[in-house]
Amino acid sequence: MRQPGRYSRLMMCGGITGRSGPHSLPLARIKKIMKNSGEDVKMISGEAPIVFSKACELFIEELTRRSWMTTQQGKRRTLHKEDIESAVVGTDIFDFLVSLVSDSCNSEDIITPVGIEILDES
């Protein structure tokens, strides 16, 4: 991959350097959340929040995409919390969010017994 000259590279990378230019998500906030994750996190390298800033973008994009599909299925134009809940329930890797999104009073609508049945395979 051809690299442009130094100055244009700096400009190009202005968005992702730790020092200059904003990340999409604030690094200090990410670090706080990491520290407060309750797991006795001692020290965090400087690069870890940077990885998370991008990872959270990817995460939000994926969850939004999946939620929007539910919205479209309902022929609606407004993305609601229920769409997010539906996306969470329907995606394996979002299992860790199930209890979070179903904390609302709608839990009986969200947690359907699909997949909880014990299949009798002989």
């Binding site: 690299q3 590279r9 999409s24 998500l25 797991e39 939000i60 994009e61 997010i84 969010l97």
Partner: protein, 246 residues
């Protein structure tokens, strides 16, 4: 659903999060500079959660990513006519924080198992792979590489040192001026995900200004210091700055 709530707490009609304050455990140092008393009525309803007082509390806004940033990222995905309900925005904020905590927990456990104190970027990437987010690992790896490269190219003190080394290696009298220097080797150790460590300074086309006259306009692609570049050149023997002129 109307979001307006004159006490400023984030409620979406459900019973969740009626109390927005979380007491820090006593052993924990509090990052917050002290109680922040926001007026209960304000335009931006997300940040007004504190009604009382002066303990070491995690403010709600510190538990979540700023809602504006979250919305902006969501809007990249959604068509222009789409709307997002307020409870969806809040839910997304909560999900992001939960995601960070989830990954961090796994990464931290690995650190503790290996008796390390610092959660590194590699730990985070490892945890993501382990927890099912392996399709994120590659783009994040590339992102991190680019970040490290851009960081290392910012270090001007390395630039001067490398300048001197290259001046010794290549006798002066070519261009005479020392323009740009190749970036120094990145200072991180061999990464779990990042392939072989760079050896000597990778050749940067911008250094061509040093060795050529102005006739050659294309600096060529050989001097890339990124991962996709000449990774095989780990010894100075393979270093051929004049290769493009042959």
């Amino acid at each position: 659903m109307e979001f307006q709530n004159q006490h400023g707490t984030r409620q979406s009609g459900g019973p969740q999060r009626s109390s927005q304050m979380i007491l820090q455990s006593s052993g924990e140092s509090c990052d917050n500079p002290g109680p922040v008393m926001n007026p209960p009525l304000a335009g931006s309803s997300d940040n007004n959660t504190e009604q009382r007082a002066p303990q070491c509390l995690v403010r709600e806004q510190d538990r979540y990513m700023p809602i504006a940033n979250v919305i902006r990222i969501m809007r990249r995905i959604l068509p222009p006519h789409a709307k997002i309900s307020d409870d969806a925005k809040e839910t997304m904020q909560e999900c992001v924080s939960e995601y960070i905590a989830f990954i961090t927990g796994e990464a931290n456990e690995r650190c503790q198992r290996e008796q390390r104190k610092t959660v590194t970027a590699e730990d985070v990437l490892w945890a993501m792979g382990k927890l099912g987010f392996d399709n994120y690992v590659e783009p994040l790896t590339i992102y991190l590489q680019r970040y490290r490269e851009s960081e290392s190219s910012d270090r001007s003190q390395f630039v001067k040192r490398e300048e001197r080394q290259l001046m010794d290696y290549y006798p002066p009298g070519h261009a005479g001026q020392v323009a740009m220097m190749p970036p120094p080797p990145p200072s991180y150790g061999p990464g779990y995900y990042f392939g072989p460590q760079h050896g000597p300074p990778m050749y940067d086309p911008s250094t061509m200004g040093m060795f050529r006259d102005c006739s050659s306009s294309d600096a060529g692609g050989g001097g890339s210091s990124s991962a996709s570049g000449a990774q095989g050149e780990n010894s100075l023997g393979g270093f051929d700055p004049f290769g493009h002129f042959k």
